[in-house]
């Protein structure tokens, strides 16, 4: 998971390499903490900046997403024609 400590040390590029779902959840949690209103002004500003970074990372991931496909086994063995086994 992505927590405040991790966010503080990660560069934007490193952040954008995280799994998309982790980024969204971190963004969601950041927004919820801001909305709870229990943070001081300084901390709220930090949270807000953090939210903007997470939002940019999510958008970057979405923009360059390309379906990755890994194939197991060999076609020759597992092709559509019935084998003679």
């Amino acid at each position: 998971m992505i927590d405040d400590a991790k966010l503080a040390v990660l560069t934007d590029d490193e952040l954008a390499k995280h799994p998309f779902d982790e980024l969204v959840i971190a963004l969601q949690q950041t927004v919820q903490r801001l909305e709870a209103g229990s943070t001081g002004l300084e901390e709220s500003i930090e949270l807000y900046k953090q939210g903007l970074r997470l939002h940019s990372a999510c958008e970057a991931r979405l923009k360059k997403a390309e379906l990755a496909i890994t194939e197991l086994g060999r076609r020759g063995v597992t092709g559509a024609e019935p084998d003679e086994a």
Binding site: L41, Y48, H55, L62, E66, L67, I69, L72, G73, P82
Partner: protein, 427 residues
């Protein structure tokens, strides 16, 4: 040869009156066989027959076809099972196997034999396919394989999805197309398999197990396009059904069309009506993600704006308190002079710290002025007591509100409130 009369171009009526005793008509072998063939072809029963018998001496020449003899205690008939039908067959003919064959009878002219051309072949004895399906369904249901309590939820944000289907045909292409459009953030792990014919069941089981051995698969999809009951038969094979129910992660089965329900469907955590639907059920709708992300960002901005307004009220209150305290400060200064004389400066220091704190708050406030945000189109709703409105449930219809805009304010009343703010972000 060509000018010899044939069976077809010299009808009886023309030849009959010529001689009192008709000369026997000589047929060529080809004509004979053709006549027999046309007789058989004209028979509607032979064109669509069901025959039960025992398979004898099947041969599998390199052509990919299969030839065998079908017999019972008294008779036998030759049977031909061509490659395409063989690939779709539920069973592979074996010597001694009792089968029910559906097909047609035709003459094979070059050899002057008639044979049974097989369209489908199913094992006899255990009854027809439907009966076997029902029997296995009851058995596996009794064993608990189809219990609702075994169904696991499908992960909402999958990172890796395993797919078992045929590498040829439309299904694999449909699945990748759906995911490219819908959620290209996912990685597909493709484990191809034969999905019809007698070899399909063990092949599907192997393909599933290859996926199960992989790390980090969140969801498995087992898919196949539509077809006849025989085509889809391997998804009713006990080995396949058990492999589906043994899946270590949630598995979605999408076989055939809406109306086809195989036993593998029952054993799956989720049944999809089609392969494309399986791909959709396995992923969130990525086309909605930019909107969802934008909404989160807007909420963060609104929350920060509210925080800044709170802070301003706090500082204003501090200021008023300070003004009220000013006479005391003057008096304190007098006393301080005395205290300094005695070497004590503590109180002054405390006042200085307080002023510095106030100055710092002012600076922070300037950098956070809501004006810029208001200028972008946001508004702040305030209640008569001056408190900022954040929660629709804290006001009622008819309550007065003041809406602060970038320029000027609007006095208004609540018409209606919607939502309580507890809705899930991603629904």
């Amino acid at each position: 040869m060509a000018d010899q009369p044939t069976l077809w171009d010299q009808p009886d009526e023309q030849a009959a009156p010529a001689a009192p005793r008709p000369t026997p008509r000589i047929l060529r072998v080809t004509d004979l066989n053709r006549r027999v063939r046309s007789l058989l072809d004209a028979d509607s029963i032979l064109a669509d027959v069901w025959v039960e018998g025992e398979v004898s001496q099947p041969s599998f020449p390199p052509s990919g076809h299969c030839f065998f003899t079908l017999k019972d205690a008294n008779s036998q008939v030759r049977a031909a099972l061509f490659r395409e039908e063989l690939a779709r067959a539920v069973v592979r003919p074996e010597h001694g196997m009792n089968v029910i064959i559906h097909g047609r009878v035709r003459a094979y002219e070059p050899q002057g034999v008639y044979q049974l051309y097989v369209e489908s072949i199913t094992p006899a004895g255990a009854g027809d396919l439907h009966a076997r399906y029902e029997a296995l369904r009851r058995e596996l249901a009794a064993a608990g394989l189809f219990d609702d309590s075994r169904k696991r939820p499908i992960p909402r944000w999958p990172r890796r999805i395993g797919v078992v289907t045929s590498p040829v045909g439309a299904v694999w292409r449909d699945i990748t197309n759906v995911l490219r459009r819908r959620y290209p953030l996912v990685e597909l792990v493709f484990s191809p398999s034969v999905v019809q014919g007698a070899t399909a069941a063990p092949a599907v089981v192997r393909a599933l197990q290859r996926l199960y051995a992989q790390d980090g698969i969140d969801t498995v999809i087992l898919a196949r396009g539509g077809g006849s009951l025989e085509d889809l038969w391997c998804f009713n094979d006990e080995r396949v059904v058990r492999a589906v129910s043994d899946a270590p992660v949630p598995i979605i089965v999408g076989v055939g069309h809406e109306s086809d329900t195989t036993l593998a469907d029952f054993a799956a955590d989720l049944r999809a009506p089609t392969p494309s639907a399986a791909a959709e059920l396995a992923t969130p709708d990525g086309t909605q993600l930019p909107t969802i992300l934008g909404r989160l960002r807007d909420r963060a901005t609104a929350a920060l704006l509210g925080r800044a307004a709170d802070q301003r009220r706090f500082v204003e209150a501090e200021q008023r308190a300070l003004v009220r305290l000013s006479p005391d400060i003057g008096a304190a200064r007098q006393r301080t002079a005395d205290l300094i004389d005695r070497g004590g400066r503590a109180l002054d220091d405390r006042l200085d710290r307080r002023r510095m704190l106030l100055a710092a708050s002012h600076d922070a406030l300037r950098t956070l002025s809501p004006t810029a945000t208001l200028e972008r189109g946001y508004a702040v709703a305030r209640r008569p007591d001056g408190r900022i409105l954040r929660d629709a449930t804290s006001v009622n219809a008819g309550d007065p509100l003041q809406v602060i805009l970038a320029r000027g304010t609007v006095e208004t009343r609540v018409e209606k409130t919607n939502g309580d703010g507890t809705e899930d972000l991603f629904k």
